[in-house]
């Protein structure tokens, strides 16, 4: 049976402006999904467009980061978004930006599977 783990990498936090989750070690896994769940919209964005743009980042050592290539957006009216990644080496994090003026209360999960 394959190992599988879900980590709540952020819980009940408010994101505004740019964000990045804490470094997470994932060397044992071969596939990953970040989920961002919107708990509440604390402040609405100033304009139209997605509430949040997120991208997966990878790292050789957990301190220096570059984009992995996977991206996703959370659109108005959505409460959950998922971003898949494979072939990511040893470290993962999710970073991105919240729409100007918006404040999002979220939970971010990282699901890893062997």
């Amino acid at each position: 049976m394959r190992q599988c783990l879900t980590a709540a990498v952020e819980r009940d936090v408010v994101w505004e402006g740019e964000f990045a989750t804490e470094p997470w070690e994932a060397a044992w896994a071969s596939e990953a999904i970040f989920f961002v769940r919107l708990l509440s919209l604390e402040s609405a964005p100033a304009g139209a467009g997605p509430l949040l743009e997120a991208r997966v980042q990878i790292s050789p050592d957990g301190t220096l980061w570059c984009d992995e290539g996977s991206t996703a957006t959370l659109e108005a009216g959505q409460s959950l978004v998922a971003i898949r990644a494979r072939h990511f080496g040893g470290w993962l994090r999710l970073c991105g930006a919240v729409a100007p003026g918006a404040r999002l209360r979220v939970i971010a999960y990282l699901n890893l599977k062997e």
């Binding site: 783990l5 980590a7 709540a8 819980r11 804490e22 070690e25 044992w28 050592d61 957990g62 301190t63």
Partner: protein
């Protein structure tokens, strides 16, 4: 020989309750969260952001992967890069006999190597606790190794014995909470000074041996060993409080790391073994 290789330096009591080598997963070790009702934000604020455990192959920027003491992976508790931030891993069981239990672990701690400096005082503390309950009381033996305070090296084992302050959570009358991992209330373990092997740069990791004996019958410390040092635990007391409604026979174990500066503190556990002395008649 097989048994010796599997158990490494461990000398378990007659019944092994669990022997967790993190080469094969987290084995039920998970993050700690405070009690809440209806909404997440009514938990005590100190509980809101305790960082959860992950599996690490101990990779650093200069030499790459170091692996764990006895394999590739360790359980890693990583704080945020903020002074006072805590990372906690907990495993929850119940006990079948109120006798001697023994916790053994191989552990190591380091700050995140984000600067080319020794950084030996960046980790504030690392600690462990039992959370126990019998028919009359809840008992929480807490021990920590205070590595440094505000950049000043300390190197001392400490114990927390004072009863905690409880707060009601929500409106049902069923939920209470107390925060017991704060910097307050720690007292020095008599004779508890110990210099551990930090090594010479922030990326060199040395593994330490830890053994703690606790008697569930008398709810008292029995022994504590770290590396070559055996400490006198006869003069220290665990935290005690009246029994709570839903915790009968609880046997929880937790480890934690605390950042001493605005740099991540990392506690690694290669393996954890919990064993017990259970008479034949009680285990049948």
């Amino acid at each position: 020989m097989e048994q010796v290789r599997e158990r490494g330096p461990f000398s378990p009591l007659s019944t092994v309750l669990y022997s967790d080598d993190f080469d094969t997963g987290l084995h039920g070790w998970t993050g700690l969260i405070g009690n809440y009702e209806d909404r997440l934000d009514n938990m005590l604020p100190q509980y809101r952001d305790l960082r959860p455990p992950m599996l690490s192959n101990c990779t650093v920027w200069d030499t790459g992967t170091g692996g764990s003491a006895n394999g590739t992976y360790a359980m890693k508790l990583a704080t945020r890069p903020r002074c006072g931030s805590l990372a906690v891993g907990i495993k929850r069981l119940t006990y079948q006999y109120a006798g001697l239990i023994q916790l053994e672990a191989r552990f190591a701690f380091k700050p995140e190597a984000t600067q080319l400096q020794l950084s030996e005082t960046d980790v504030g503390s690392v600690g462990l606790l039992f959370d126990l309950q019998n028919q009359t009381e809840r008992v929480m033996p807490h021990l920590r190794y205070l590595n440094a305070v505000a950049g000043r090296p300390v190197g001392r084992w400490q114990v927390k014995s004072r009863p905690p302050h409880f707060a009601d959570i929500g409106n049902s009358g069923k939920t209470r909470s107390h925060f017991h991992l704060g910097p307050d209330g720690w007292e020095d373990l008599p004779g508890g000074d110990q210099l551990l092997c930090y090594n010479e740069i922030a990326t060199k990791l040395n593994w330490h041996y830890l053994k703690l004996g606790f008697d569930l019958g008398s709810m008292s410390f029995v022994y504590l060993q770290c590396n070559d040092r055996h400490f006198d635990t006869s003069v220290i007391e665990p935290m005690r409080m009246p029994a709570m409604a839903n915790l009968w026979c609880m046997l929880n174990v937790a480890f934690w790391a605390e950042a001493g500066t605005d740099r991540r503190a990392l506690l690694y556990l290669d393996s954890v073994l919990l064993s017990a002395e259970i008479p034949q008649c009680a285990s049948a």
